[in-house]
């Protein structure tokens, strides 16, 4: 199935199941640190989407055609199912009695399947579309300083799934305009609406841009900005019973990886109609005072300074002198054998040394 709505690509069985199986295994293979969105939650969402399709609760899987990942509709589907599961199970009654009436009418077979789906789903913790929290790291009432960690997990509008971590210290003498409110016991904290909104809106900026942006806020000393981004996922899925037809990520990004992917699709990949192929990128991007060497080991995203012209570069250097921090970017990949060469060529072209985990086909 091709594009069905803006940036929305639909997959149906059996390709959708193959895709979700590969994606689930890619998440496991990637050995994600806590810089990334919670792997277990995401895995649960992927597995639940798979169950939903397999049990006939849903007829199709919606993906973001740019990022090649389940889109907001898919994330929301399983989350709302999770919220309704308990009430639905109570209304349905015992699964045995539904199973016993399976042959009586189609509705009982469907309800029995749904019962199994809800029963499994209600025990799981699923990936959020958005999750924002503020953690207090240190609070020194004597000096009037409080250190916080802000964590934002977000299904970005670009289709990638990311986690943003900001560590900052707030000085109490300037708390008349504080960005984070401590409660009276000094143990819990919450970002004020304006700051929360600003962090949310800026989550798609890279760490160094965000670091500079936050550093400009009065009374705030930023120590670290770190992002972990899952995606894009580029896939090629042979369609059973349809000759040489394959389903591919329809709107892959137009960066070096996307271009290499397109070239592969038209070249070696065009002949690959037997095996499913998947390539997923996992990027980290940090800006902090304790980073030793400023470097980008990300073949897709060079440092900001390298992307600026001479005039902007000079201005940016002057800005950086005011804020002593360094930036480190990295990206690792998980790829099936057919796409491993594509990744390696991209990394070699950019002069970066990246981890490429093998994704074995079942």
């Amino acid at each position: 199935m091709s594009i069905v709505a803006l940036h929305t690509q639909a997959l149906v069985l059996p390709e959708a199941d193959t895709y979700l199986e590969l994606l689930g295994r890619a998440l496991q293979a990637a050995r994600l640190s806590n810089a990334f969105p919670d792997r277990k939650q995401l895995q649960n969402s992927v597995d639940t989407l798979r169950d939903g399709l397999r049990l006939g609760v849903y007829g199709e899987l919606y993906l973001d055609a740019r990022a090649g990942l389940p889109n907001m509709a898919s994330f929301t589907r399983v989350r709302t199912d999770h919220e309704l599961a308990a009430a639905a199970l109570a209304r349905m009654g015992a699964r045995d009695s539904l199973e016993a009436r399976r042959d009586e009418a189609e509705v009982f077979a469907r309800m029995a399947a749904k019962h199994a789906y809800y029963e499994k789903l209600q025990k799981l913790e699923l990936a959020p579309v958005d999750h924002h929290r503020v953690l207090l790291r240190r609070h020194d009432p004597a000096s009037g300083t409080a250190a916080f960690r802000i964590e934002l997990t977000k299904l970005d509008a670009s289709g990638v799934y990311l986690r943003l971590l900001i560590e900052l210290t707030q000085v109490s003498s300037l708390w008349r305009r504080k960005v984070i409110d401590l409660d009276e016991d000094g143990e819990t904290a919450a970002a004020n609406e304006a700051f929360r909104g600003m962090v949310y809106r800026c989550a798609d900026l890279d760490a160094e841009t965000l670091f500079v942006r936050l550093h400009g806020i009065e009374g705030v000393h930023v120590e670290r900005v770190a992002r972990g981004v899952i995606g894009p996922a580029l896939f090629s899925l042979p369609c059973q019973g349809q000759g040489v037809a394959v389903r591919r990520t329809m709107e892959a990004p137009d960066d070096v990886l996307g271009q290499a992917w397109h070239a592969w699709s038209l070249g070696a990949g065009a002949a690959e109609t037997e095996r499913p192929e998947l390539l997923v990128a996992f990027a980290t991007d940090s800006a902090a005072g304790d980073i030793r060497e400023e470097k980008s080991n990300d073949p897709i995203s060079p440092l900001l300074a390298a992307r600026l012209g001479p005039q902007e570069g000079a201005r940016y250097r002057a800005l950086r002198e005011r804020y002593p921090f360094k930036v480190f970017k990295d990206r690792k990949f998980v790829a099936t054998p057919g796409l491993k060469g594509v990744v390696q060529a991209v990394c070699a072209g950019a002069g970066t040394k990246n981890i490429v985990y093998d994704l074995r086909l079942g």
């Binding site: 709505a5 889109n71 929301t76 989350r79 709302t80 609406e193």
Partner: protein, 353 residues
């Protein structure tokens, strides 16, 4: 004389199927079926009310999403973009009263999307419940049909037996007339005729009961079918509506994110514009101040220079007076010292100054 009446008919067991029937048992059975119907009707009422509530809420939320989209597209803006955005944001829970730029609109829209998706799903969940109810009712119709057939068969049996008894009654009547009055034979025939009459009364009642039961069950079946059809129609309506709403939501997810992002960007632009406006205002005020000051100085320069004299005449005369007095005191002091020295010299012995 005709052949002797066959009294075996009296002893024959009539093959009624089921558990036997009485007015009370029939009423109990019918009541049981009505209770099932009433329960389903109550369920239906509850579901319909819940459905109306959910669909109303859902329509409202979808309207908000659409209206937001319309405002951002510029198709429904009367008071300008900002007024439009503010109006739409006022519909979103938690946003009323907040400054325009505080919360991310993308985040709020996603929360609204989640709420709408949940509503649609809540409504859709009732489709299966209704279909299950419909199936329960059709199963009940099957059971009623079995009852109807059973009642019809039993009525037929009862009718057949009543006919046999009637025939026997007529035969016994003829035999009684032929028998000698008051004879043992006649008394025996009369005893048999009484038994026939009792049986006739019993099974005539059965004819009526089974016939009545058949008709009542048939009416019950019609009502049950109407109920099942109503439930099916409701389930279909809900299914159509929720399917359409689901498709709308599924197709709109990327648009909602894009709209939210665009709105956030627009808000950032508005903030930037507001900031630039403030800056411009500050610059204007400052420039005006500079300009006014310059004109003031130019107009008043001569006066200002004139006024630059350090002391006025009074102060100068005071100073001169002070100085004159100071000199007089100083000269007096000097004179006193000289006088003292001269006096000491004059009184001292020769050679000791």
């Amino acid at each position: 004389m005709s052949a002797k009446a066959n009294l075996d008919v009296l002893n024959r067991q009539v093959a009624y199927s089921g558990e036997g029937i009485s007015v009370k048992s029939l009423e109990t059975e019918i009541q049981k079926e009505r209770t099932i119907q009433d329960t389903k009707v109550d369920e239906l009422k509850g579901l319909r009310e819940k459905n109306i509530e959910i669909q109303g809420a859902m329509a409202d939320e979808l309207k908000k999403l659409r209206k937001f989209s319309d405002y951002l597209n510029g198709t429904a803006t009367k008071g300008g973009f900002l007024a439009g955005v503010k109006e739409v944001l006022s519909y979103i829970p938690g946003l009323r009263g907040l400054a325009l730029s505080q919360r991310s609109i993308e985040e709020l829209l996603k929360a609204q999307y989640h709420l709408s998706a949940r509503r649609v799903k809540e409504a859709a969940e009732y489709v299966d419940t209704l279909k299950q109810s419909e199936q329960d009712l059709y199963k009940e119709i099957d059971r009623i049909n079995v009852k109807i057939v059973e009642m019809a068969k039993n009525e037929r049996e009862a009718l057949g037996y009543v006919l046999e008894l009637k025939q026997l009654q007529e035969q016994l009547k003829a035999e009684e007339q032929a028998a000698e009055a008051g004879s043992v034979e006649q008394r025996d025939i009369q005893a048999s005729a009484d038994k026939v009459h009792a049986k006739l009364a019993e099974h005539s009642g059965n004819v009526q009961l089974y016939g009545s039961a058949e008709e009542r069950y048939a009416r019950l079946k019609d009502n049950t079918r109407k109920l099942a059809e109503t439930i099916r129609a409701l389930a279909n309506d809900i299914q159509q509506y929720t399917t359409a709403a689901s498709i709308k939501l599924d197709m709109a997810s990327a648009q909602i994110q894009a709209i939210g992002r665009a709105a956030d960007a627009s808000v950032v632009m508005l903030e930037m514009k507001r900031s630039l406006d403030v800056m411009t205002e500050s610059m204007n005020v400052t420039t005006q101040f500079v300009s006014d000051t310059q004109i003031f100085f130019r107009s008043n320069l001569d006066t200002l220079i004139k006024e630059l004299d350090t002391f006025d005449e009074t102060t100068t005369s005071v100073l001169e007076e002070n100085l004159k007095k100071s000199r007089e005191i100083e000269e007096a002091r000097i004179q006193a010292a000289i006088d003292k020295a001269v006096k000491r010299q004059e009184s001292a012995p020769l050679g000791a100054v």
